[in-house]
């Protein structure tokens, strides 16, 4: 398959001494549409240490969900993973494997999907099959990955439904999705994702469609289960409140790139990238924003077909510096030597040191000197 053709560097596996469940290295995903190529991910690199919760935030169109789908190799046609590596280390003593080596339809990939890596989708309404009972759908994953014994699988199904806090799990297992409320469906989705005790759970906006009270229950539940099972979570969301409550580390994405990464404390108390700052300021906060204008980020996310030269955020940035921001793509720079807090912004020293130059559409002579 074309999308799994490893590029020159993706064949080598770079072992880091750390115990990371997943390491995504320089991931590029393009969508080849009839109207042109949409560059959904332009070199995304991150890792999730075992047992940690990583928050992935950004506006719609920033590539959050595509990142999640890429790890599952579920990026749909016309999307293709054109470059990069995804190293999965399911157990502590395993060797990391580059899952992009596997064909998306291969047996190996199926063993990973649902078993080692679970995923909760955004809309519980559309993600459950309406013509099977909830129990059937959960049992299917267990039968596929864990045990061939049907009775045993059913017992585990009821058990996992009980663990996600369903009242009367036997009855729920025999219900169809339409018989359940939104919160219950989302619990069923979580139960399904957790049924094979994955080492990584990708939660793609798991609470966006829910009411606050249900959201609180689901978040509580996820935190509890995460502690029990010891899995890592990649939490994709645009709700900063949820990020603050759930995550250990945060990456902020904008137009297919990570613009800032830091611990959750630093993101909220010491954000560096103008986009992160703007994002945090645009949410209404109880007690803070009454009677005041909300700060807005001017404009909108640019059209996905166009390419912006230089920093992709420069047309909306309040700190825009002409001559540099619109010409040079800032490199990821550690803040004050802290390798755990990095930012892609020309406001911080060193950002242009190894600046990537937009190879296409850049007028000759505007390339910066790499120092």
């Amino acid at each position: 398959m074309a999308e799994t053709i490893p590029s020159a560097q993706s064949t080598e596996i770079r072992p880091t001494g750390e115990d990371n469940v997943i390491e995504v290295l320089d991931l590029h995903v393009h969508f080849f549409t009839t109207l042109g190529v949409v560059r959904a991910l332009n070199g995304v690199t991150f890792k999730i240490p075992r047992g940690r919760v990583l928050g992935v935030v950004g506006e719609s169109g920033s590539g959050k969900s595509v990142t999640g789908f890429s790890i599952m190799q579920l990026v749909q046609h016309p999307g293709k993973i054109v470059k990069g590596q995804i190293l999965l280390k399911a157990r502590k003593d395993d060797q990391p494997i580059n899952i992009l080596k596997y064909d998306r339809h291969s047996q190996q990939m199926r063993n990973i999907r649902g078993n080692e890596v679970g995923m909760i989708f955004q809309e519980p309404m559309t993600s459950l099959n309406p013509s099977y009972t909830v129990g059937n759908q959960i049992q299917e994953a267990i039968l596929l990955h864990q045990t061939p014994d049907k009775d045993e699988a059913w017992r585990r199904t009821v058990d996992i439904l009980r663990r996600v806090g369903m009242p009367n799990p036997e009855r729920i297992a025999r219900s169809y999705p339409h018989e359940l409320s939104g919160g219950m469906r989302q619990r069923a989705m979580i139960a399904m994702a957790l049924s094979c005790t994955p080492s990584l759970l990708i939660a793609d906006e798991p609470t966006t469609a829910l009411d606050v009270t249900t959201e609180a229950q689901i978040l509580d539940l996820m935190r509890e289960l995460q502690k029990d099972i010891g899995m890592s979570i990649m939490f994709i969301t645009h709700n900063m409140g949820v990020v603050a409550q759930m995550c250990d580390e945060v990456v902020v994405m904008y137009l297919g790139r990570i613009v800032e990464r830091a611990s959750v404390e630093e993101i909220f108390y010491d954000p560096k990238h103008p986009y992160t700052v703007a994002l945090l300021r645009s949410i209404p906060r109880i007690g803070l924003s009454k009677g005041e204008k909300l700060e807005v980020i001017k404009g909108g996310v640019p059209d996905s077909y166009s390419t912006v030269t230089g920093c992709p955020f420069h047309p909306r940035c309040p700190n825009f510096m002409p001559g540099i921001c619109d010409k040079v793509m800032p490199a990821e720079t550690p803040i004050e030597g802290n390798p755990h807090h990095t930012v892609r912004c020309h406001l911080y020293p060193g950002s242009a040191a190894e600046a990537e130059v937009e190879t296409s559409g850049l007028a000759p002579g505007t390339a910066p000197a790499a120092s």
């Binding site: 506006e59 719609s60 409320s181 219950m184 009411d211 606050v212 009270t213 249900t214 959201e215 609180a216 229950q217 645009h238 709700n239 900063m240 409140g241 949820v242 990020v243 603050a244 409550q245 959750v264 404390e265 993101i267 909220f268 108390y269 010491d270 954000p271 560096k272 700052v277 994002l279 945090l280 300021r281 645009s282 949410i283 209404p284 906060r285 109880i286 007690g287 803070l288 924003s289 009454k290 005041e292 204008k293 700060e295 807005v296 980020i297 909108g300 996310v301 309040p318 510096m321 540099i324 010409k327 040079v328 020309h346 911080y348 242009a352 002579g365 505007t366 390339a367 910066p368 000197a369």
Partner: protein, 398 residues
């Protein structure tokens, strides 16, 4: 206490001249049909007797979980649904006091010039086969307000008012982003210069940054055109931001109504407390979750006995299972439906100040610009600005 008493007490709280909309005992029941003859086998009591008023120029927020009847309330007020029972009295600037529940289609058309609605989903509420100009111009045409050149001018003016460009009028809705579509919906609602807008979750389908833009726009328009809003939403921080007073609904009933400050800091109904406690706080240093509301919202077709909230209420006593508490006055302009509203000491949201995220200088006001510290001036509205360096620090080589 009977409903009539509640009503009279409500009237005592406010000067009738200031009231733009008054809702008395409004009910909307949807029949459940079943069996061979499609007989009515039950009623979904989506809205089951609510009383409230909206003052001129204010924003009343209406919050609650999904299925509590808040959208039905909005739709019944503007007669997209016919009410089962109750009165909706609108103080029309042209027609005087009108009972909306009694109006015929001609009267409705007239009153809807002053009462408009903004819908939740900007993707399904605009006709994909009409240009934006026609969408916004349609109410003007139908009501015979303008046509021809006047119409085009008015559409251009409306587009400018909501922050779009007049030349957008010739495009189709698919060419716009979610936030822009919501602006189109707002322009359409404003076309006839209404006095009262029912905003049904106008920002919940939008991204955070776009949400802020639309909220600011709604606030600007309110001052500019002297509008009154009924703002239906489930996001409590959005409601807090935009509302003057807030009403909380639970399974078809109003359970609390108060000025925003009182409701958020000093709630009198355990359900409000639980709602407020459920908001995920955007502060990683504050991860406590004091009240966790168990269970789900009961079905309005088969509600529990007594106070509908009692199965989920941590303060429930025996009386709560038997008797439904009426909405009563518990403080200045503060209404609550709880037997123990006076005794309970409920927690609102914590007073901010402790979670000093942003708004503080540390956030962005001192941004290191390439090694040089540039201290920003802290402007009055707390906005931090970074000085632009005189020259780009690293000009690209020519």
């Amino acid at each position: 206490m009977s409903r009539e008493q509640t009503e009279t007490m409500m009237e005592s709280q406010v000067n009738p001249e200031d009231v733009l909309l008054e809702v008395k005992g409004l009910k909307k029941h949807f029949p459940i049909r079943g069996g061979f003859l499609r007989r009515v086998v039950g009623q979904v009591k989506a809205v089951d007797g609510i009383d409230f008023y909206v003052k001129k120029g204010e924003t009343l927020g209406l919050v609650g979980e999904s299925g509590c009847g808040k959208s039905t309330t909005g739709r019944t007020i503007i007669r997209l649904y016919d009410p089962t029972e109750g009165e909706v009295i609108f103080n029309d600037p042209d027609m005087g006091q009108v009972h909306i529940e009694e109006l015929d289609s001609k009267g409705l058309r007239k009153v809807r010039q002053n009462m408009q609605m903004i819908f939740q989903d900007p993707f399904s509420s605009l006709d994909p086969r009409m240009t934006v100009g026609r969408i916004i111009g349609e109410p003007l045409l139908i009501n015979g307000v303008a046509k021809g050149r006047r119409l085009r001018e008015r559409v251009a003016e409306l587009l400018t008012v909501v922050g779009l460009r007049p030349d957008h009028a010739s495009r189709y809705p698919h060419a716009f982003s979610g936030g822009q579509r919501q602006r189109i919906g707002i322009a359409r609602a404003l076309a006839l210069n209404p006095k009262f807008l029912i905003c049904d979750e106008p920002v919940s389908a939008l991204d955070v940054s776009v949400q802020a833009q639309v909220l600011n726009l709604l606030e600007d328009l309110q001052t500019q055109f002297d509008l009154t809003y009924l703002f239906i939403a489930h996001d409590l921080s959005v409601v807090e931001h935009i509302s003057d007073r807030v009403a909380v609904m639970y399974v078809g009933y109003l359970v609390e109504m108060a000025p925003v400050e009182r409701l958020y800091y000093n709630p009198k109904m355990p359900y409000t407390e639980a709602l407020l406690a459920s908001i995920p706080k955007p502060d990683p240093r504050n991860r406590a979750r004091p009240v966790r509301l168990p269970g789900d919202v009961p079905s309005p077709a088969n509600p529990p006995s007594g106070c509908y909230f009692h199965p989920r209420c941590q303060y429930a006593q025996d009386i709560c299972k038997v008797e439904r508490p009426p909405l009563r006055l518990v403080g200045p302009d503060h209404w609550a439906a709880c037997h123990f509203a006076d005794e309970l000491n409920l927690k609102g949201v914590p007073r901010l100040g402790e979670s000093a995220v942003l708004r503080t200088p540390s956030a962005a006001s001192t941004i290191q610009v390439r090694g040089r510290r540039v201290t920003s001036e802290q402007t009055g509205d707390g906005e931090a600005r970074t000085e632009q360096p005189q020259q780009p620090p690293r000009p690209p080589q020519q």
